[in-house]
Amino acid sequence: MHQLKTFVIGGVHPPEKKLAEKQPIVRLDPPKTVSILLSQHLGAPAVPVVAKGDKVLAGQIIARGESFISANIHSSVSGTVAKVDGVPDTSGYRKQAIIINVEGDEWAEGVDRDEAFVRDCQMSPEEIVSRVKDCGVVGLGGATFPSHVKLKVPKGKKAEYLIINGVECEPCLTADHRLMLEKGNEIMAGISIQMKALGVGRAIIGIENNKPDAINNLSEIAREYEGIEVQPLKVKYPQGAEKQLIKAVVGREVPSGKLPIEVGCVVHNVGTAFAVYEAVQKNKPLVERVVTVSGDSVRKPSNFMVRIGTPVSELIEAAGGLPEDTSKVVNGGPMMGKALNDISVPVTKGTSGILAFPGSESRRPAEQNCIRCARCLTVCPMGLEPYLLSALAEKQRFEDCEMERIMDCMECGSCLYICPSGKPLLDYIRVGKNRVGIMIRERSH
């Protein structure tokens, strides 16, 4: 095996709690109704192409991503459009969604639902990109950035490495892990398709050392592919963050404010590689994804293959329901996920996990004065000074925030995780980032 690599600055090591690690992916049946949000990706919301009363099939396009950064949205079920209306999203604000009453499970024409593995792809890079775009594939690693945009190398830049993010550094989550075990071949084919689209000769799959079975499985398969290798990594959060992963895998540092392509890298999540495979080889749009349901309050931690738009409450039911003392339900990982105020919200393309915790585990500690212990600054993987940024933001000194490079913060939460005085560092940093972002935008006008 290779020697273990990792990134240099900062990082923390939260308890792993991979409770659903051994649970194979179970396919859930479609629910009675689904609510498919029009904004499930980074960028402009998609524009609906169906109206109330229309009959739709699973895999049929129902909203089109029209601007440069946007993505198509497909129906994940077959049935009738009940309405196009606002439904509360994960933060409780109403967002436009297409609500479909499910009737049967019929799929649109052209979608190949055969599980048989198809390795080779004959499409040209342009065809691959347009297929990925048509199928509404977005990054499944969390940011839900439309994948077709990332598969086109901008003019004047050259991609050297495709880095595949199999790190899954967040505690509790096991979706990528299971996928790497169960769909290794498909992922590998997806990677080679992405390599073809990008025109790169090398792909490196970064996997943390706490998933030896996945490392073995993919290394095994990688032998059959040229230019693809697996790089085991030391366990450290947030290794899965793009810039940290590039640093860990190829030792390059993406300059502040720049994209990975600046150092010749493109990063995709393993789930995205799988989605690309399905889109290109099977013509199957992104209508379902693997979601981990886990956490100390979940009776049966599981990994489900779920249709987009399924209410979270159904997933929780399928995992045995919630005990009385549950006090927090999180969409995503415990470090970066969003706490839900209502469990009836739908699963989106970006939902990698649903975690439930009792109060004892997830309540924030009481806030005290910052004792200037420098722990936050030691763990910040971006080399920032969170205590300072947070204080500046709290004092509304946003110009100073900008000078201290608040925009470099990727909101990994390491600082808040480690702070012994329970300072809500990241909360204030987010306020600061928000305001500095507005300032920067106003300036460029």
Binding site: V250, R252, G264, M335, C380, L416, S421
Partner: protein
């Protein structure tokens, strides 16, 4: 299901807390405390107890009646201040003066600025230096160590190795003649010498320091750069003229250098945040300590140097930031 909680991420929190850290420090101080009780007896116990109790009491009173903030006396930081203040005064200091010191340390050194973490200067040292200058006589009469003594204020007094040596050298005597008259290095290491309550035993303090290092309460940067600089600088002088300047080993074990480097210079609130900053800070403390010891009016310079460097901390924090990710473009 009960009411859900909504909060920003992250939803996990490390197993740290202010009081755990602080009590860790208190725990690590136990060896030094035991040594001081052994050599200075009941007097040391009384001084330590008085300092701790009055520090907590002053913090309580100020917090309750002046600042009107949440109660903080059990976070352990006032206990540390109390213990370290006691460790920095002679065992036979009248208890009234100890109480004044505690009032100054907590009231002026800490609560004036809003309490834990906000103070720019090390509270215990503010207390000590205040007492040094206010009560020079009482603060410079040290009891002779004697095992398990139960004597209180009337103990036999004697000089500390530092005052003895400095006094002698100032009178033109030679270091080589003075050295045999102070405890040998083994005794100094153990703490069998005149000095403040808790500073005498380098060994016990190092032990506590190792414990704190192991628990990651402190990092090595400040103690190592502080002690290292002090050793190197004193070694240079020693090599130039060993009859006027004592050797580095003596400097390391005499007086409060060990206590200062491991416990007082490392105080979070009053030391720099970045690792480079910490090293600069340690070097500054080391230089100043040796200069004051060798050339100043006072035989001991640890407290002054740390306080002076405390004043530089904001500037150090401004000038020595952690290395930012993506700062230099390194295209492999």
């Amino acid at each position: 299901m009960k009411v859900l909680t909504v909060s920003g991420s992250p939803h996990f929190h490390a197993d740290h807390s202010v009081s755990r850290i602080m009590y860790g420090v208190v725990f690590s101080l136990i060896p030094a405390m035991l040594v001081s009780f052994y050599f200075f007896g009941l007097a040391a116990i009384l001084v330590t107890l008085t300092a701790v109790v009055s520090c907590m009491a002053f913090e309580f009173l100020i917090q309750k009646y002046l600042i009107r903030g949440p109660m903080t006396i059990f976070d352990g930081s006032a206990i540390i201040t109390g213990v370290l203040l006691a460790f920095n005064v002679p065992a036979n200091l009248p208890l009234g003066i100890v109480v004044i010191g505690a009032a100054v340390a907590i009231g002026m050194g800490k609560m004036t600025f809003g309490g834990l973490g906000k103070n720019p200067f090390n509270p215990a040292l503010v207390g000590r230096v205040f007492l040094m200058i206010s009560f020079p006589v009482q603060m410079t009469t040290y009891p002779e160590p004697s095992a398990f003594s139960t004597r209180l204020a009337d103990a036999v007094t004697g000089p500390t190795p530092l005052t003895f040596l400095k006094g002698g050298v100032d009178q033109g005597e030679k270091v080589s003649e003075l050295m045999p008259q102070i405890p040998d290095y083994a005794n100094m290491m153990l703490g069998n010498m005149g000095g403040s309550v808790g500073e005498v035993s380098a060994l016990a303090i190092i032990l506590g320091g190792l414990y704190m290092l192991a628990r990651r309460i402190i990092s090595w940067h400040i103690p190592v750069s502080y002690l290292g600089t002090a050793a190197i600088l004193s070694a240079i002088f020693w090599m130039v003229n060993p009859e006027v300047y004592p050797d580095p080993l003596f400097h390391l074990m005499a007086g409060g250098l060990m206590l200062g480097a491991i416990y007082m210079a490392t105080d979070y609130a009053t030391s720099p945040m970045s690792k480079t900053g910490m090293i600069i800070f340690g070097i500054g403390c080391g230089l100043l300590t040796v200069i004051i010891r060798l050339f100043g009016a006072y035989p001991e310079g640890v407290a002054f140097s740390i306080l002076i460097m405390n004043a530089f901390v904001p500037l150090i924090n401004r000038g020595f930031k952690p290395k930012r990710f993506g700062e230099e473009i390194k295209n492999g």
